[in-house]
């Protein structure tokens, strides 16, 4: 755990703070909506008008804070790119920085196009993703070793990073589903079970492409498209859990929504192991050890 007193570090902390404030504002907004719904029953006219005004201000602030966090995260990522002079996806510090950056556009895309909500959770995911970059992983710039100097490097990591965000959102929706269907949800958005499925449907092709590109790259660099390396095996396991999800859902549809959700959460847990434990633990030393 270290605090980074550098421009890079300060940008990350600013983005994190914006995401956290946006999240807190979201919570306040939920609280206010709840209070307003209670007051409506008592017909407290003036107070309702005032609360409506506050709600509008908070909703606007939340969006602005979230957007501000994203812009700062883009700056942090761009600064890193300029600093290391290659696509900054070499190690976990850079990967988590990228994750913290792309959460905003993914969240926006999910709301506007895929009808999947959970923006409040996205803000929290953004802050959680930036935390390891800000406090845990070293930001020491490193030159690319020969194996990483390949055109597949950036697309392989980028599609994985993007798929992880979709899968993380799928897992959050699955947790909502397990926690019990909310009595009220915005009709603009899909119910959690369907939202989980849609997120997985969008993220899974990216996960597949990441796996295939990694395999192709392995052949170019190491002579094997499959080396039975721990990272490869864990990523295969996560891919297979989603394959299992699809087959289970094809067999039973929405008859067992809780089991569907458990598949999605299990897959995300395996992804977390693939991304973190495999790289950080001595248990799993292998060809991907440089990516720490």
């Amino acid at each position: 755990m270290e605090i980074k007193y550098t421009i890079q570090g300060l940008l990350i902390y600013a983005a994190m703070a914006a995401y956290v404030f946006a999240f807190v504002t979201s919570l306040l907004l939920y609280l206010l909506t709840f209070v307003t719904s209670l007051l409506r029953r008592t017909k407290a006219g003036h107070l309702l008008y005032f609360l409506g005004f506050i709600t509008t201000v908070l909703a606007l602030s939340k969006q602005l804070l979230y957007l501000f966090g994203f812009i700062i995260a883009v700056l942090a990522f761009g600064y890193r790119w300029y600093d290391v002079r290659h696509v900054p996806l070499q190690n976990l510090f850079e990967v988590f920085l990228c994750l913290g950056m792309i959460i905003y556009p993914v969240s926006l895309f999910c709301r506007r196009v895929l009808r999947v909500g959970g923006q409040c959770a996205d803000m929290l995911i953004g802050a959680i993703m930036l935390f390891p970059a800000g406090f845990v992983f070293s930001a020491q710039p490193r030159q690319l070793p020969p194996a990483l100097q390949c055109w597949v490097f950036a697309p392989h990591v980028a599609v994985y990073v993007l798929s992880y965000i979709f899968m993380a959102k799928a897992a959050f929706q699955a947790i909502y589903q397990l926690a019990g269907e909310p009595s009220y949800y915005d009709e603009k958005f899909l119910p959690p079970e369907e939202a989980t499925c849609r997120m997985i449907c969008v993220g899974f092709p990216l996960l597949t492409l990441g796996l295939v590109l990694g395999s192709y790259w392995g052949k170019l660099a190491w002579g094997d498209y499959w080396g039975w390396d721990p990272k490869e095996l864990w990523s295969l396991a996560s891919w297979l859990v989603y394959i299992g999800y699809f087959h289970f859902r094809y067999m039973f549809g929405k008859k067992h929504p809780r089991i569907n959700s458990l598949w999605a959460i299990t897959a995300m847990a395996v992804i977390v192991v693939t991304l973190l434990w495999v790289n950080l633990s001595r248990f799993f030393s292998g060809l991907h050890s440089y990516a720490t």
Binding site: P146, Q149, K188, P205, P230, A237, F248
Partner: protein, 342 residues
């Protein structure tokens, strides 16, 4: 769903779950043991059963044939499995017996600069001195290491102060009024030193060797001048009277072997291979694998048979096209249409 198809779906699901657990087990035992494990007889039976199950699935589920994307996904998986089996050690043995194709799966070649060879030391279950012969020879024209520019000199005082300066010959660098200045006088590729009484002469040895070093002049504030050497291969090198620990930091950016393929005494192909850029010739890929770290006189190539590779790549392509086709257009257009109507 008929009883057979339901049973097939369950069998498929169980096979997937089993493979999840096997993959996790493999991750814990390490790559070498995992490779042996996944190539063992029971697992070979499993791979074969999985392939048969996939083929049976395509044959019995009409939807898998009617929906092209689903067909691509499942055929892609079948091709990957078939290609991998064809390219495995057992697959090579089968090729030898059935069609008389005599290829070895993989091995290593050591080639010295200016020499050629067609001998490949075989890997895996073969005895240590087993060699395979290629129907052509590979000649190493030149081997070289390439480095990132600039290289750096790291300086650390006994009070734990640190500096990192780019290597520029005859450029003075100030360490502050209390400590003096540092000048890099000369860079060596193969450092050697002769000692004649009190006189020491450092020089670049012309003989094969690899010992990169820097000659550094340190001017102290009292006017005294001292010469120190920083070595790439010996980063902790320091004398008791030295005030600074010096490190020569030079990062390798690439390993390059210039190869020629010789058949019937004629050069039929030529390529500079480096990491991520192998040579493909005569049914084998040649990879830059290792090199002579002491003197840079030879290169070590990894030779891998390309049997089954195109089948695996075709499977990858079909799998990717199928997955995107199946999951993206329908979901995205459906979501968009709903939003517009809503």
């Amino acid at each position: 769903m008929s009883r057979f198809r339901r049973a097939l779906m369950w069998a498929g699901l169980i096979a997937i779950i089993l493979l999840i657990f096997l993959s996790i087990y493999g991750a814990f035992v390490g790559a070498e043991r995992a490779k042996d494990f996944f190539n063992s007889l029971p697992l070979s039976v499993y791979w074969l059963a999985l392939t048969v199950m996939l083929i049976a699935g395509v044959g019995s589920f009409r939807r898998l044939v009617r929906v092209p994307s689903l067909l691509l996904i499942h055929l892609g998986c079948i091709l990957v499995l078939v290609g991998a089996m064809w390219g495995s050690d057992a697959g090579h043995e089968l090729q030898r017996r059935v069609s008389g194709i005599d290829k070895f799966p993989r091995g290593n070649m050591v080639i010295y600069e200016g020499r050629s060879t067609n001998l490949v030391q075989l890997e895996d279950d073969m005895p240590i001195d087993s060699f395979g012969e290629l129907p052509f020879s590979i000649r190493l024209k030149d081997f070289r290491l390439e480095y990132y520019e600039p290289a750096y000199l790291q300086i650390q005082s006994r009070e734990e102060q640190r500096w990192k300066i780019p290597v520029k010959i005859n450029t003075e660098f100030s360490l502050g009024a209390d400590l003096g200045t540092v000048t890099i006088v000369k860079a060596f590729e193969n450092f050697k030193i002769t000692i004649d009484g009190d006189k020491r002469t450092a020089f670049d040895a012309p003989q094969p060797g690899y010992n990169p070093a820097l000659e550094v002049q340190i001017k102290h504030p009292d006017g005294t001048v001292r010469t120190q050497y920083a070595f790439k291969r010996f980063p902790g090198h320091i004398h008791t009277e030295d005030k600074f620990l010096l490190r020569y930091q030079r990062t390798i950016s690439d390993y390059v072997s210039e190869l020629q393929v010789i058949k019937n005494k004629e050069v039929v192909a030529e390529k500079s291979i480096e990491v991520n850029h192998p040579l493909h010739f005569g049914g084998y890929h040649f990879y830059q694998h290792y090199y002579d770290a002491r003197a840079g006189q030879y290169t070590l190539l990894m030779v891998v048979s390309d049997s089954g590779l195109n089948v695996v790549y075709a499977g990858f392509l079909m799998l990717c096209i199928g997955v995107f086709w199946q999951l993206w257009p329908r979901r995205l257009s459906f979501a968009g249409a709903k939003l517009k109507s809503g």
